[in-house]
Symmetry: C2
Subunit: 657 residues, 2 copies
């Protein structure tokens, strides 16, 4: 085994190793291999380069540190403890992986300061970091080096680089020349199943070079080499990959370098041997003050940098604008939306809700200067670009629109990164069927409570000829299933405007605006100042005393109204409820719910499967929708073929009453 | 514009172009750009190389052709029509994208012969083709060149190569040295949003070389260059990428080379101009007999090769074994499972269902010689490898286990490819939370009706300390939402064995075996020959006249039985229903359903969200489960924290009755 030359920096790294192995041992669960293997790299990074201030964890110009290999969570917990984050005392380290602690099995955004993103699902960290680096560069283009000049550092493992999302991320980062993104790859040749050569022969360095990255390597246990590589990476205008050759579990003399050390406690005997090997004589969870002092110097350096930055901000002409974006101040948006809704009620446009979405974006983007739009190569279909928007390019980041490429997953993660970075409100589009491609990142938006906005157009068989691969059927159900995600399916231009207001004013909940390809009439023809979509569901047509209630969403509202007309002609009074957001309706009080849904038989109508509709429907109620996959044909033919018609609703209604 | 030297092969290609532009025009919808751009490459491929027999579309040793860029569906429809596939007459071409036609917007497996895989969702084709090439190499290792010796050809576009799944696919293919996989990249520098340089700077050739591929290029409109490249690709032991420089929409003089030609009809005027440019004087949908004859020669060559192959098969010693695998004959499996179940009822093991799954696999893999196991780098956690299994390696394909690497999406698509190829029954594992990573491929299994088997372990908060990123909460609901997918969540070793029997005997439905990390007692302590899991739900404990019904799945059955005991102690009779598969229960008749579910108040219990449970539960029934994300802690602490306990069920039961 490599002989350890004990320097002060090595001791700082060994403090990480000791905390990691002891915490995993105490929890009897966790991953000691990565924190021990990458302790030297992380120590050099923080000791010599990183600008952060644990006393102001949200300081906008701090460097971002992303532990993409989230299973090595003890690395970041140990570092944040040593740096003196107030909420990461030694009791937290001792409570690793226990109920109620801030030290979850994988780093959870919001559980403790200094955790910039939730990681664990592999590849998400590196892809989210790309968004952070995009945001830095965009913000720098707006406010200059004085206010925005920081790095995004990532530690990624073999798993992160094997996941497909890493391809989308590095292609986008290389294309956009995100020079301040620096990825340190824990090149330890080990995965859970064994050596990496069980499943990959990828030349990672050549792969990153092919994507336009600056590629370096270093011995991950030699501080001078690590520092030289980071120094060089910081200077290069391209994003940098540093391949850090490391030994997994470095310091555990009998287990290091093998997959046995990856995801299980070392055991008391091996921990004792590691203590000897590392010349670490201290009891578990005991760190000498001198080591705390060394780590404290990093915090002091950061605090000084932050104070200087505060001064620059206070004298900056753009101060108010900067802070408004940082605080995500929606200012005049509600008023602008209300005025726009009034106009819509008069104009009564018949447009697809994807078009209505673009119309609403004209208002949103004119009012909020910090939105960032984008699409996964479907700009002209998703209609996510409003008239004043400008695309960013590798050499010009002054715009506010991103061509994410055919990379739904990379887009979603990058949007999370932009939102987490702060100073911007990201939204981006794709076809709704391809929500499946970015589902892991959507789930993370929801789990983190980040208000990323997804625009999912072509939302049903109504897209027509492209056929079943492109037609969402189960997607509404599967997306409504994700906790803390608002799925908004507006029925017309008015509801679409309201949906955008909800999306843009949301602070801790991601939103999804689900829009049609096909044209839909304006059904909210009378202006109401209140955002009715925010109620989740409301009475769109109230016949007074009702015989039956028809509940529909989005493009099926038109069919529901038609059915109500037909029923009225036969003397049957049908209420029509528009239900653009199930999650928001669930939050309403019981009185309102009964007022809307009534007590008479109900028919749900949505061009999708029934699952999830039982929120509204009882076993004796009826549902008009899909039971399987769609088909390729013009939309009107499909609605008829699948019996999603006013006639079907009418006959169901008659049967029910 | 490039001058067209009209040869017989060019005329064959122009027939594709004419059919593509005319069919898209007639449908007033579709993508003419790709078929017109890749017509020359496809013609050279089929004319000079491909071995297929339209009169025997399922001939096992045929070459496989995968149109990964599925939006160019008219390419494959035109080719299959010209080749003389009986089910692809000119009326089908005229009915492109119309209801009931075989010519859907994107190629749909099962709609017409000669479509090897459903494509359209980008990147799926290339990743599925990797599975086909794996299957070819494995089958070749078993049966030799005489019976198995064919190529897998793929046409992929920029979109396929930008999607993350392509990274997983090419890394795996390069590692396994799939020399008979040949990808022709339609290198036309155009995506929907515009030029590819809007969103990518990837050096694709260097990227594929980094993954261990053999990389070639050719002018995609020069037959000799195309042929030379394919010839060279066929000889190389590595998988090959041929970068075909093409002009999108080649032949449409005013629109070609631009994104305008990608996804919209050319219009009558441009079609007339293209006819002139291509020297194509024939009316729409009219192909001269001489051209049909040329294409027919390809079919004749294939028919001859197939006849020779049939002869070799008929004299092969392995004939019966070959055909049994090809026909997916399950033979002795049901009997073996029944015997094993009898033993389990006696042994009553208390094991995690992931362990029970491995135990069942010992029986399955000993009985079926054509299973192919695997895992996305979680072999020791998913327990997908049984004792007799051997991993394939780049130099030895005689095994039956694949280390798919940290590539859930690539694994799922490859499994689809293995299943579509025929001769093998693939299953593969990952953590259930990461079903999200491979959801688009799972959806395609279901849409195609391919019996891929997914093994999803660590299926709830019961996995404990890894925390909310790793804990499925909404996944059962979101997966049950996919049409034509059987989600099986067994409660003990007996149900797990039954689930494996269902999975391995399924012919047109993918299956998912959902398994616990934590140990569970055997609850089926009395042997029943019938596969009760195949009923979807059944009475596990029948107290005779009941007061309340508790319905649970998987790891929550133990809790339900405990609750029933506690209730019995208080004189309340609780029936316990085990519901391992909602989809199969839905297929039961009404009498059986009532017999099982009873008419008394019901309590559902599952460590997941309620969505989907309304299949069983009415508004007045109760559900004990999750309402949001999980947390990081030991499993018993989590069950208590989230109130998923026998005590909660007992108190709910008392409230209900």
């Amino acid at each position: 085994m490599k002989d350890i030359h004990i320097t002060q920096e090595t001791r700082m790294a060994n403090a990480i190793r000791a905390l990691a192995m002891d915490a995993v041992q105490k929890a009897n669960s966790g991953h000691p291999g990565m924190p021990m293997g990458m302790a030297d790299v992380a120590t050099v990074l923080f000791n010599r380069f990183t600008n952060i201030d644990p006393s102001a964890p949200k300081w906008p110009d701090r460097d971002r540190f992303v532990l993409s290999a989230g299973h090595g969570s003890m690395l970041i917990y140990a570092i944040n403890h040593l740096l003196g984050y107030a909420d990461m005392d030694i009791e937290q380290i001792k409570a690793f992986r226990q109920l109620g602690s801030r030290t979850a099995g994988h780093p959870e955004y919001g559980h403790a300061d200094g955790i910039e993103v939730t990681t664990g699902p592999l590849g998400q960290g590196i892809a989210t970091a790309v968004g952070m680096a995009i945001a830095e560069k965009m913000k720098n283009a707006r406010y200059g080096d004085d206010l925005v000049d920081h790095f995004t550092y990532v530690i990624a493992g073999d798993g992160c680089l094997m996941e497909g999302i890493s391809h989308e991320a590095i292609d986008l980062a290389g294309h956009l020349e995100l020079g301040k993104l620096i990825v340190m790859w824990d090149d330890n040749s080990i995965t859970i199943d064994g050596d990496t050569d069980l499943s990959t022969s990828m030349d990672q360095k050549a792969r990153f070079a092919a994507a336009g990255w600056h590629v370096l390597e270093c011995d991950g246990h030699t501080p001078t080499e690590i520092a030289d590589a980071i120094e060089s990476a910081r200077k290069d205008p391209r994003p940098s990959l540093i391949a850090c050759r490391t030994i997994i579990g470095f310091g555990a003399p009998n287990k290091q370098g093998s997959h046995d050390v990856h995801g299980a406690p070392l055991g008391d005997e091996e921990i004792a041997a590691a203590r000897k090997q590392l010349h670490w004589d201290h009891a578990p969870f005991e760190i000498p003050q001198a080591i705390y002092d060394e780590w404290g110097r990093i915090a002091s350096r950061g605090a000084k940098a932050r104070a200087e930055w505060e001064q620059r901000l206070n004298t900056a002409t753009a101060r108010a604008e900067f802070l408004a974006a940082e605080e995500d101040e929606v200012g005049a948006l509600p008023a602008a939306i209300e005025a726009y809704k009034r106009k819509l009620s008069e104009d009564k446009p018949k447009v697809a809700t994807r078009k209505a979405s673009q119309m609403a974006l004209e208002v949103v983007n004119a009012t909020l200067p910090f939105t960032v739009g984008g699409s996964a190569d479907l700009t002209g279909s998703n209609l996510t670009k409003s008239s004043g928007m400008k695309s960013i390019t590798p050499t010009d980041f002054s715009g506010d629109y991103v061509h994410y490429g055919i990379r739904e997953h990379g887009m979603a993660a990058a949007m999370n990164g932009i939102a987490l970075h702060g100073g911007f409100k990201p939204y981006g589009g794709t076809f709704m069927a391809f929500a499946d491609y970015c589902r892991p990142a959507i789930r993370l938006s929801a789990l983190m409570g980040v208000p990323t906005c997804y625009v999912m157009t072509h939302d049903s068989i109504g897209l027509g000829e492209d056929g079943p691969t492109h037609q969402p059927v189960e997607h509404l159900a599967s997306l409504r299933a994700i906790p803390n995600l608002l799925v908004l399916r507006p029925a017309d231009a008015v509801e679409t405007a309201e949906a955008w207001e909800i999306a843009m004013t949301s602070k801790t909940t991601p939103t999804m605006i689900v829009a049609s390809r096909q044209n839909l009439p304006t059904v909210r023809t009378e202006h109401v100042a209140e955002n009715l979509t925010a109620r989740g569901a409301y009475l769109l047509r109230d016949p007074g005393e009702r015989d039956v209630t028809i509940i529909a969403t989005g493009s099926e509202i038109e069919i529901a109204l038609d059915a109500a007309d037909k029923l009225a002609a036969e003397g049957i009074k049908a209420a029509v409820v528009s239900a653009p957001c199930f999650e928001l309706f669930e939050q309403q009080d019981a009185v309102y719910k009964v007022e809307v849904m009534g007590t008479k038989p109900k028919i749900g109508c949505e061009a999708a499967i029934r699952q999830g509709w039982d929120l509204f429907l009882g076993p004796r109620d009826s549902f008009v929708g899909m039971t399987g996959f769609g088909a390729s044909a013009p939309a009107p033919a499909l609605y008829k073929h699948f019996n999603i018609t006013a006639e079907t609703i009418v006959s169901e209604a008659k049967e029910l009453i």
